[in-house]
């Protein structure tokens, strides 16, 4: 019976190799995976790089409250809460480095307005920017596949347009497979979806160096 349970779990879950004690990264990944996507998977990191505007190695250095979006004027903000993660560019692997402003890329992420069931299961917990900020793993390095979404808002109606970044700075997003961070033990963690759910070229990545090399080789071949 225990074996059957384990098999069901193995078939239904997406493993994440986060080092023991790396609690903030674990919290961040858990928060980000509240939102799930149907997306077009790429077979290799090189394929994803070629579809990206910019690919960098960088370090998360901060987070600001970002724009919010509503589907119609006057509608309530309903789960469309965004924050902007600031990523310091350490190395440009592919694409247009001009998307960075003073060496910083501004990465928009969407997170839920409410999560969980509260302490003791007593109700939902508002998950505002401050709560989200507490999970963001400042100082963590990663590889970021970036798209310029400055002129492509989620909805036509934007609240606080330009929030979270300097005037004139580009706003970027990552595709589902394009946000990867390095855990304390050097293992590679895909933020939105586990590497084990991806094609073999992704599953074989064991470190950020593996990923970096895969992209550099593709960009020079």
């Amino acid at each position: 019976m225990i074996l059957a349970g384990a098999l069901i779990l193995a078939a239904c879950s997406s493993a994440t190799s986060i080092a023991e004690g790396d609690d903030r990264l674990a919290s961040f990944v858990s928060a980000m995976r509240v939102v799930t996507y149907d997306y077009e998977p790429t077979a290799t990191p090189a394929d994803l790089a070629k579809a990206s505007d910019l690919v960098i190695v960088g370090e998360i250095v901060g987070v600001e409250k970002g724009q919010s979006y509503v589907p119609l004027p006057g509608a309530e903000v309903d789960g469309d809460v965004s924050s902007v993660i600031q990523v310091k560019v350490d190395e440009t692997l592919f694409g247009d480095a001009a998307l960075a402003a003073d060496g910083i890329v501004h990465l928009q992420v969407t997170h839920p307005a409410y999560v969980g069931d509260g302490p003791g299961g007593e109700g939902l917990v508002p998950f505002d920017h401050a709560a989200f900020e507490a999970t963001v793993p400042i100082g963590t390095s990663g590889v970021f596949f970036l798209e310029d979404i400055t002129d492509r808002p989620v909805y036509e109606f934007v609240i606080d347009e330009g929030a979270g970044r300097p005037a004139g700075a580009a706003l970027c997003a990552t595709p589902v497979q394009g946000f990867l961070l390095e855990s304390r033990d050097g293992s590679l963690v895909s933020v939105y979806e586990g590497l084990d759910s991806m094609a073999s070229a992704w599953r074989q990545l064991e470190s950020m160096d593996d990923l970096r090399l895969a992209i550099v080789e593709a960009s020079t071949s």
């Binding site: 078939a11 239904c12 939102v35 799930t36 149907d38 979404i149 595709p175 759910s197």
Partner: protein, 130 residues
């Protein structure tokens, strides 16, 4: 949209003008998802949040521009709708790849890609709603 919830499971689906506390309410919206075809978020979980838990109020957004890339667009739209509804009843991206919980473009127009598989129905949906 025929996602076979009524026929294949113990669930029922309906369009309601009011929220039913015993049901999962799903809001549907069009949006620019920046490269993704569909997006699911549970706004109010039934239980302490678990990725494979069921949801009281969910929001699903579809990006027709992304879904319509490639061929079989009509079936693709149904597949992505089925996929996101699947999340609202506790399903995750699976390894079976014989159902609507696969990611991305469907390989052909078979109804396989617009339905849930037997494991989804028996081990997840009916176990919650049965």
């Amino acid at each position: 949209m025929n996602i076979s919830l009524d026929r294949d499971t113990l669930m029922s689906d309906l369009f309601s003008a009011t929220c039913d506390p015993a049901s999962t309410d799903v809001k549907w919206l069009d949006a620019n998802l920046g490269g993704s075809r569909g997006e699911y978020i549970c706004l109010e979980p039934f239980t302490p949040y678990e990725p494979d838990g069921i949801c009281f109020v969910a929001r699903i957004r579809l990006d027709p521009d992304q879904i319509n890339i490639g061929s079989n667009d009509a079936e693709d739209r149904k597949k992505t709708a089925c996929h996101e509804v699947g999340h609202s009843v506790g399903l995750q991206h699976g390894d079976d790849k014989t159902d609507c919980m696969i990611n991305g473009e469907i390989p052909d127009t078979s109804a396989t890609w617009r339905t849930f598989n037997g494991h989804h129905i028996a081990a997840h949906i009916d176990s919650y709603y049965g």
